[in-house]
Symmetry: C2
DNA sequence: TCAAAAAACCGAACATTGTTCAATAAATAT
DNA sequence: ATATTTATTGAACAATGTTCGGTTTTTTGA
């Protein structure tokens, strides 16, 4: 691999430059400031040339989102090692919120365009589609470990998938409301940890209530 | 009250017509289809005239959001009477999700513009700002009743406010992910109810685990 | 009642957006 | 070296939010 024609290499290099400048514009000035002409300026091309590499603005945003989801997946694993699976799972959730609040416009963009992103092929079920999404896989793996360690009770109608989805919904709600409401003023991560502890307790087996940390 | 000058009445009537047509456009064709010229067409005015009633498009969207939050607050109480506070609280959460999925663009708009909506005056703390928001008050009231009935454990650092916020975060996450991912295909509300039950269990006192319904 | 003042309304324009297309410049193939 | 394919662009189009000067309508006050 890696030995394509020079033309191919130039093509992909320019494509990368396009989405790189797009990401930078979004990060520094918000998604509202992103325009084809801004990108063209940044990479010293004419606006019309951009359309030689991406069909339209939406295609660019989609590429930006793909990279965004990859970065999010990375971030989910970027926490110090923990002694207990429950703590690790909790910190994974904290990382989700942290990523959101440190890349607000980026994060919001991810989940505005996600409809086109993930669930694009209606022939594949929502569940399998999700289970193949790397970001969800990280969460799902944590939940499976929790179940294996006896920290989560599963029922026939509510298994590891549902629990993982619930975990995602929980951290996503925390992140979203933090972004749209608490944007001013810093977050109290100890409260967030307490919230995630409560979430875990909801799935813990009866009688298991010893406190962590 | 109600006996203002005719000019005042006309003024407010036109203002109402503007946001009413805006709501309809959003509801039928999505927020992307909303433009000043579309509104002007709908109410038989010129585009320029709109600016006699609202400073700019953002001001219109803000007015739409205010109405949206009022409708959301209404919807939160629009469920059949329940025998148990826990069931009522759960149905309130279901209503939140229901409102979101039956008014997707509307709902997404609410929480894109919410930064400007609620937390606008930095001198008032986030907590008191939230506690004065009607939609949050509905949730908070439910949680207070749950606490009073002994279904929720409170600690010095995690009281009714934090629990209510957590409840909002939970349902908001469910709604948001449903909107951006499960937009195709209907929701399984029995799974959502199970999720909300698990959430409640997380705050239930030790040893209280009898199943509801 | 009727002129003056104020308010409401609109046509035309401006700047900015995404996007297209014919024409030109560059790269590649023969 | 020439023909052909590819890359690039300037200019234009339509749609957007918004402004402004002027015109029409309404209210005011004598």
């Amino acid at each position: 691999m890696g030995n394509e024609k020079p033309r191919q290499r130039r093509n992909t290099r320019i494509r990368q430059a396009i989405i790189k400048s797009a990401v930078e514009i979004i990060h520094h000035e918000g998604v509202a400031a992103l325009s084809i002409r801004r990108i063209a300026d940044a990479i010293d091309y004419s606006p019309a040339s951009i359309y030689e590499y991406y069909a339209n603005k939406d295609a660019i945003l989609q590429a930006v989102c793909e990279e965004g989801f990859a970065k999010l997946t990375e971030a989910l694993n970027d926490y110090p090692p923990q002694s207990d699976i429950r703590l690790a799972t909790r910190e994974c959730g904290v990382q989700y919120v942290r990523f959101a609040v440190s890349n607000p416009d980026y994060f919001l963009l991810l989940f505005s365009n996600m409809g086109n992103q993930v669930y694009r092929s209606p022939e594949v079920s929502f569940d399998t589609q999700l289970l193949n999404s790397p970001a969800f896989m990280v969460i799902h793996t944590h939940i499976q470990a929790m179940i294996a360690a006896g920290h989560c009770v599963v029922t026939p109608s509510y298994g590891s998938f549902q629990i993982a989805l619930s975990a995602w919904q929980m951290v996503h709600g925390i992140a979203m409301l933090a972004l749209t409401m608490q944007r001013h003023g810093p977050l109290d991560y100890s409260v967030i940890r307490a919230t995630l502890d409560a979430w875990q307790r909801g799935f813990a087996p009866h009688g298991a209530r010893k406190e962590l940390l």
